[in-house]
């Protein structure tokens, strides 16, 4: 009997302890949602060869461990910008440029608070893989919380690009070129042919029908109607890419401003468009652009476009000047007419006599 009692007490204590501890363990199961990752990886891999590399992930949370599930997904373009459209659905079809079959990553990782972990990853390219570009993304997902109407889950993504060298199909077509208002808060990017705002960027849109991502280089020369020239020496300072099949718009700053910044303890440099000093009037922009992969032909594209920069103050002054000219012309015409009229009148009166 005593033995039965002690078993009962022990079971009760165990149950109580479980009930007491369960919410605690559930709460501690919620992962941190503060992380630092590598945003992009780039590889050049010959067919039949492989690359081994590492990914460093840091948990910025001082209290909770960072528990991440890793998976490789494909991505494509969202619009004419550089934002990846991740194909996160489990049944998403594999793209023709997918790196998934060749990329190996760990399935999960747990990182202690305020520490980092380095993961081994690898890319193995089969010997029969043709030249071109392949790309996919590694997603690091923290778990979903329990409770509430709205739960929050943080996911980080590393974009992985691989170039397989050889004879590739490079085919960029220039579809648009001209003064360009880059996207801002509350407005989308657009080409302008006449503008009252001083344009800060010259845009060019390229359609990539090849089998390789392309990063164009070159220059744009801006010429004012009275001959003043401004040269944009680097049309792609961020080394942005046109993905396979994408119609990508590149915005080149007329005046590029570089600034040294300290990002999380590391010196870095940021480049942004500054206000250029353009005179009002008609501008001619000439694009001279080059692209091409190692060992393939360097392709060149050229194009000329025109745009008007007519600030409001210039329009107002022009209208006032035109009105003044019209007024003076009218005064002169009136005076001439009055003079002719006065001259003609005495003659008629003479005839009457």
């Amino acid at each position: 009997m005593k033995r039965f009692q002690s078993i009962l007490v022990a079971a009760f204590v165990l149950l109580a302890a479980t009930v007491y501890l369960l919410p605690v363990s559930s709460a501690s199961a919620q992962s941190s949602a503060s992380l630092s990752i590598v945003p992009r990886k780039n590889y050049t891999i010959e067919p039949g060869k492989s690359v081994k590399d590492t990914l460093t992930i840091r948990n910025l949370d001082a209290e909770r461990p960072l528990e991440l599930q890793l998976r490789v997904v494909d991505f494509t373009f969202d619009d004419d910008g550089g934002t990846p459209k991740l194909m996160i659905a489990e049944d998403a079809p594999q793209t023709t440029w997918s790196l998934k079959p060749y990329l190996t990553v760990p399935k999960s990782v747990t990182i202690a608070p305020k520490s980092s972990k380095t993961l081994d990853i690898g890319v193995s390219m089969p010997a029969n893989r043709g030249a071109g570009s392949l790309y996919s993304a590694i997603m690091y997902s923290s778990g979903a919380p329990d409770g509430g109407n709205v739960g929050l889950s943080a996911t980080g993504v590393t974009l992985v690009f691989a170039t397989i060298p050889g004879a590739v199909d490079q085919n960029l077509t220039l579809t648009k070129f001209g003064a360009y208002n880059a996207p801002r808060e509350g407005s989308k990017g657009e080409y302008v042919y006449a503008t009252t705002q001083m344009p800060r960027t010259i845009g060019f849109t390229l359609k990539n029908d090849g089998n390789v991502t392309e990063s164009p280089v070159g220059s744009i020369t801006l010429k004012h109607m009275f001959g003043e020239e401004t040269v944009i020496n680097d049309i792609n300072p961020n080394k942005s890419l046109a993905l396979i099949g994408q119609e990508r718009t590149f915005a080149a700053c007329i005046k590029l401003q570089s600034q040294d910044v300290n990002f999380n303890g590391s010196a870095s440099q940021t480049k942004a468009c500054a206000e250029p000093s353009l005179l009002p009037g008609l501008y001619t922009a000439t694009l001279d652009m080059y692209y091409g992969q190692n060992g393939n032909n360097t392709q060149e594209l050229t194009k000329t476009a025109h745009f008007w920069y007519l600030p409001l103050w210039f329009i107002i002054i022009s209208v006032i000047v035109l009105l003044l000219i019209a007024y003076f012309v009218w005064r002169i015409v009136s005076k001439v007419r009055g003079y002719s009229h006065r001259k003609a009148q005495p003659k008629r009166s003479t005839r009457r006599r």
């Binding site: 919620q30 949602a33 503060s34 992380l35 630092s36 990752i37 590598v38 945003p39 990886k41 780039n42 590889y43 050049t44 590399d53 910025l60 001082a62 209290e63 969202d78 910008g81 550089g82 934002t83 990846p84 991740l86 993304a137 919380p145 509430g148 109407n149 709205v150 739960g151 929050l152 889950s153 943080a154 996911t155 980080g156 974009l159 690009f161 880059a182 996207p183 808060e185 989308k188 991502t213 990063s215 280089v217 040269v231 680097d234 961020n238 942005s240 915005a251 990002f263 999380n264 590391s266 870095s268 440099q269 940021t270 942004a272 080059y290 692209y291 190692n294 060992g295 032909n297 360097t298």
Partner: protein, 359 residues
């Protein structure tokens, strides 16, 4: 008499017409003869390419430069100038780390007979006895070239052909080839690129801390009241391509019943089924804060940055930066409106915010 004179005049003018047309024709032909060689001397070399055997930065490797001579003019020299910028009339900046002063001409095909006349850090001049072009498609392989050290920058070789054997005088053909070194691992090696991202109900500007709350109970749904909540996320990157944050997840649902999301930026209308978010301060209802941080290039997407207008489409980019961005904090506002005919239940959702680099 008068009629006779007019006929004579017409006859004379007619003969002048013939003389004029012949003269104009001769003049145009003469011009063409004179101008044609000049324009031929300004042709672009075609099928230009550069093959770098090893694309590792700062290593000694071989370069193969190929192109097609276009003008039939005899060529005595080829000038190869290595610059960051491919444009022939721009100032030449030597690619950092590149050195071609030790280059040797290892092989040549097509137009051959060349030797290296002179070389410096960023220039090679090939010379031969001036001769006609008989095999236009040509290739020149150089050994012992030291690659540029900067993997961020592409570089170019500006090519010019000359009739003289020492690359002086007028150029005949010209063109540039583009190249880039990579280290086989990553393009951005000077400063390790990183993307910092954190998410919670409240976060510190630099992601150093959060309030550790990852869900929000918005209260009881009522047809004439708007439920609201907010969460925060901070983000920053030193990657040149910038970042993008995508929101994804199904709208609030209870079993098979779903509160319809706003598929375009719309005002809050109590009494109708609406779920939406935005990233700015609002007063209808009073919820949210404008993005915080001095970094102007990190912005909320246009559809999610209009005060008092809300939207939710799973997969939409809600904030981004086109280039390097120091830490910026975004406050996300959520609104929930319901109609009287909404079926009862506990409506919930998990919104996943995905922070990625850009390309």
């Amino acid at each position: 008499m008068h009629h006779h004179r007019r006929a004579q005049f017409h006859e004379q003018v007619n003969s002048w017409h013939h003389v004029w047309s012949e003269a104009v024709l001769s003049f145009v032909l003469a011009l063409l003869l004179l101008v044609a060689p000049v324009s031929a001397a300004q042709m672009r070399l075609q099928d230009r390419s550069l093959y770098i055997q090893s694309s590792e930065p700062s290593v000694s490797t071989s370069y193969t430069v190929s192109f097609r001579y276009m003008s039939p003019e005899p060529v005595g020299s080829v000038n190869m100038l290595f610059c960051v910028d491919p444009i022939p009339y721009h100032e030449c900046v030597t690619p950092p780390g590149l050195d071609v002063s030790g280059a040797t001409l290892a092989d040549q095909s097509g137009e051959s007979g060349f030797t290296i006349l002179s070389k410096s850090t960023n220039r090679i001049v090939l010379t031969r006895t001036t001769g006609p072009i008989t095999s236009p498609m040509s290739s020149y392989k150089f050994d012992n070239i030291i690659n540029p050290s900067n993997t961020d920058l592409s570089f170019s070789i500006r090519l010019r052909t000359h009739a003289t054997p020492n690359a002086t005088g007028a150029q005949i053909d010209f063109g540039s080839v583009k190249g880039q070194v990579t280290d086989g691992i990553t393009l951005e090696t000077q400063v390790p690129p990183m993307l910092i991202f954190c998410l919670a109900e409240e976060v510190a500007d630099n992601c150093a801390s959060t309030n550790e709350t990852f869900y929000k109970d918005m209260g009881t749904l009522e047809p004439n009241a708007t439920l609201s909540a907010q969460s925060q996320m901070a983000v920053g990157t030193n990657a040149t391509g910038g970042f993008a944050i995508t929101a994804s997840g199904i709208p609030p649902s209870a079993g098979t019943n779903v509160i319809a999301p706003l598929v375009s930026a719309t005002e809050s209308r109590p009494g109708s089924n609406q779920f939406g978010i935005n990233l700015v301060a609002n007063n209808a209802p009073a919820v949210g804060i404008d993005p915080q941080g001095i970094w102007a290039n990190a912005i909320a997407s246009s559809d999610y940055s209009v005060p008092n207008k809300y939207k939710y489409v799973s997969g939409d980019v809600v904030a981004y930066s086109p280039n390097v961005s120091l830490m910026k904090k975004f406050t996300v506002s959520y609104i929930l409106n319901t109609s009287e005919d909404l079926k009862g239940g506990v409506y919930s959702t998990t919104i996943t915010y995905i922070a990625s680099g850009r390309f």
